[in-house]
């Protein structure tokens, strides 16, 4: 699986100690509330809202992102909200390892499991839960409060179950995610 190397402008991206590559053109509000697991790529014009959090003071993890994740161009990650026991608040969001989110996608899920690929132009509704080893096709709309089971392919508007994935998909997805990180290199002068 030899794919083309993706070059980026070195002045545009910040590389942290744990290998995260974050575009300077992305909007990350309140970075104290966001945890990155390492080797995560955040591309340009991505919006991550860390300021929308539960009531109360002090430090809180609003958005946790695992390792080897990719947040594509123009994607928006914002935590979900609801009224619980008469109190309105935003709730934390967890994105596990090896999750790819495509370009122009909007994600308001509660939890995304390991090894998930979300395509381009998707909308993931509030408090939806995506379990491990899933694939969301391009242009899918997942309604709020949906639970997507493991090893499934979802697509359409509204999102429906389309097919199953083989058990080997873990290895394939892991390889894909790792290879993407290795292919994402600074342009040499």
């Amino acid at each position: 699986m030899d794919e083309d190397i993706i070059y980026y402008d070195k002045s545009e991206y910040i590389e942290t100690e744990s290998g995260n590559k974050i575009s300077r053109k992305s909007v990350i509000s309140v970075p104290q509330n966001i945890v990155l697991g390492g080797k995560t790529i955040i591309q340009q014009n991505c919006i991550i809202r860390g300021d929308l959090r539960r009531k109360g003071s002090g430090y809180a993890v609003v958005i946790g992102i695992g390792k080897y994740c990719l947040l594509g161009e123009n994607s928006i990650i914002r935590p979900p909200y609801k009224i619980y026991k008469g109190v309105f608040s935003y709730y934390p969001m967890k994105i596990s390892d090896y999750v790819h989110i495509g370009k122009r996608s909007i994600v308001e899920a509660a939890r995304i499991g390991q090894y998930v690929i979300i395509g381009d132009d998707c909308v993931v509704g509030r408090f939806s839960v995506i379990k491990e080893y899933c694939r969301i096709l391009d242009n899918t709309v997942i309604p709020p409060n949906t639970v997507i089971p493991s090893f499934s392919v979802f697509g359409g508007n509204p999102g429906r179950f389309i097919s199953e994935l083989p058990e080997s998909s873990q290895i394939i997805f892991e390889q894909k995610a790792k290879q993407f990180y290795e292919r994402f290199l600074p342009k040499s002068q």
């Binding site: 509000s29 919006i47 300021d51 928006i76 909200y81 309105f88 909308v123 242009n139 508007n157």
Partner: protein, 168 residues
Amino acid sequence: MTEKQNLIPDKNCISRDIIYDGDIKLGKGNIIHPKAYFKTLGGPIIIGSYNIFEERVVIINERKEPLIIGDYNLFEVGTVIQSSNIGNNCNFQPRATAEDGSKIGDNCIIGPKCYVPTKTELPDNTTLYGANKRRKYIPIKDMQQNLHLRHLSYLHEYLPKHNRCMNL
């Protein structure tokens, strides 16, 4: 209802990180998140009270007549409104689009990625969902407004804490 309304301040809470151009009139108690986009090429944009505009909302007026938006509307991420009038208590879910010259009544819900074609009039209490299948039903208005008011009062308290905001 009237008691809860008192919780919301009359000031508009507008993030500084927005792009705007032309004649825009705001009512009171509106919230605009960062990266929203407002533009007028002809007539003014007149926005009512207690609306929420989330990220990447685009509102463009290209006509000579004013673009009028009512009260208690929620515009979620990536909504595009092009020269169309909007009533009260509407909910535009992510990436909803209202095209040129359309007119949307009260209590409407436009689902994610749905679009209202040019020069159509949506009657009150309409819901658009899925691949533009049209349905009509009457939402529980009180409950929706309750959620909206709580959302507003939360954002009025927390948005200025972390973002640079203008209070107008």
